[in-house]
Amino acid sequence: MAYEVHLDVYDGPFNLLLQLISAEEVDVYAISLSEIVEAFLQELRRLEQANLELATEFLLIAATLVELKCRRLLPGGDDVDLDEDLSLFEARDYLLARLVECKTFSGAAKEIAALESLASRSSARRAGPDERFDGVAPDLLEGVTSTDIHRAALRAFANQPARSVSTVHVHDDEITVTETLDLLVGILPDRPRITLAQLLFGDTSKARLVATFLALLELYKNEMIDLVQTANFGDLLILWTAKDGKYAVENADDYDDTASSIL
C-alpha cells in the first residue's frame, strides 16, 4: 500500500514501518501513534473518494502497532507464563491466516470482475424458437386454471422476502405485545387450530414476529393455548384450549415496551 508516514524517527511507507519495528531498527517507544493516526485522517480527507482498501489496511496495521506498543510498554513482558504466550501465538497465527485469506479473496474478486468485464463485451443469443415451431412445443398452460394462478400468486406474495429497504423512517409501526394479545384473544377462539404462518400471513417483519411470539408465550404460560410442532423447523400449530375464552389482557406481564423497542 502506497500510504506513507512522515515522523521524526521514520519517513516512508507505513507497512515498512512495521517491518522495521519488528526488526528493531525503529524503536516503537519513539513512535507517536496519535501522530500517525492524525496524519492518516488528514490523508483520507485529502483523497477525493473514500478508499476503503487503504483505510482497512491502515486500521489493521495501526491496530497491530498499538498492540506491539502496549506489549512493550507494559511491565512483566519478560515473565509471561507459557500458556499465555502460546495463546498469544495462536491468536497471531489466527490473525495471520485471516489476513492471508482476506488478501487471497480480494485478489480472486478482482479476477472475477475482470472476467465479467471481458465477457460482457459479448452478448448472448437468447432468441429461442421462432413462430415456425409454435406447434412443436407443448402448451405449458395445459390444464392450468385461473385458480392455479391465484394460488400461485398467494404463495408468491406470502413467501415474499422481507424488503431490504427499511421504511422505518417513513412510518414506524408500533406493534405492542398487549395489542397483539388483544388481537389473538379475539381471533383464536374462532380459529381453534391455526399455524403460526397463517397467523402472520406473510408479515414477517421483526416487530410483528417478536410481538406475536411473546403474546403466544404469554397465552401459553396462562394455559390458554397449546403449541405443537411436528417436525424440526416445521410450522408451529396453535391450539386454543382455554375453557371460557376470557383473558384479562391487563394481567399480562410488563409488556408495555413495544416489540420494536426490544429489537
Binding site: A127, V144, A153, D173, E179, L183, I187
Partner: protein, 195 residues
C-alpha cells in the same frame, strides 16, 4: 466468406453481431442507423450475406420476416430442431415459473427487477421462457431511471386460461402489501371460501 467481397466484411460482421443478439427481427431502418449506412446498402449487404450462408450450406439462414432480418434455423434441419425443442423444453410450468407468471398477471405492468424483489431471486430466465411462449409480453418501459422493460400478460394467456379479461382472475386485494398489518391480519383470518 462465400460470395461476399472481402472488403464488405467489417460491415457485414457488424450486422451479424447485431442480428445474432436480437430476439425480434431487426429492421433495415434500425440497422442503417446503427451502422451509419444507407438503408439500400444494408439491404444489399443482407441479401448477399443470406446468399452466402445458403451457398455455404449453413444450418442457419438470414431471413427477411416481419419487417426485419433475423437468424433462424435452416428448414433442412427442422427435424433436429423439433427434437431439440421437445427434448429441451419443459412440458409443464415449474412451480417457480407459475409463481412468476402469477406475479406478472396480478402486478402488471412489472419489471424484471420488481419480480426478482417479490420472488427473492433472479427471474430473468423464467420471464424469457414465458415471453418466448407468448404468455407474457413487453408492455412498455418504466419512466423512472433505467427505463426498465415492463411486462404484462398476453391475449394468449387469457385465451389459454379461458378468461375474457384480467378482471376475471380471482381478486387479490387482501394481499396488497400496503394495507396496515393489523388490518391484514384481520382480513386474512376471516374464514375464506376455500377453507
Amino acid at each position: 466468406m462465400g460470395s461476399l467481397p472481402p472488403d464488405w466484411r467489417p460491415e457485414a460482421a457488424a450486422i451479424e453481431a447485431v442480428i445474432i443478439t436480437a430476439s425480434e427481427p431487426v429492421s433495415s431502418q434500425l440497422l442503417s442507423e446503427l451502422l451509419e449506412l444507407s438503408v439500400e446498402r444494408v439491404d444489399e449487404l443482407c441479401k448477399v450475406m443470406a446468399e452466402s450462408y445458403e451457398a455455404e450450406e449453413r444450418g442457419f439462414e438470414l431471413a427477411h420476416v416481419g419487417g426485419g432480418y433475423r437468424f433462424q434455423s435452416h428448414p433442412a434441419y427442422r427435424g433436429y430442431v423439433e427434437r431439440f425443442i421437445l427434448d429441451d423444453m419443459p412440458s409443464r410450468l415449474s412451480p417457480a415459473a407459475l409463481e412468476t407468471l402469477a406475479i406478472i398477471a396480478y402486478k402488471q405492468p412489472i419489471s424484471r427487477g420488481q419480480i426478482a424483489q417479490i420472488r427473492g431471486v433472479n427471474a430473468d430466465g423464467v420471464v424469457r421462457l414465458l415471453s418466448q411462449r407468448g404468455y407474457v409480453e413487453t408492455v412498455g418501459r418504466d419512466e423512472g431511471p433505467g427505463q426498465a422493460i415492463l411486462f404484462g400478460t398476453s391475449r394468449l394467456f387469457l385465451e389459454r386460461l379461458g378468461l375474457n379479461t384480467l378482471e376475471d382472475l380471482p381478486p387479490l386485494e387482501h394481499f396488497v402489501p400496503d394495507v396496515s398489518t393489523v388490518e391484514l391480519l384481520e382480513q386474512v383470518l376471516r374464514p375464506g371460501p376455500e377453507e
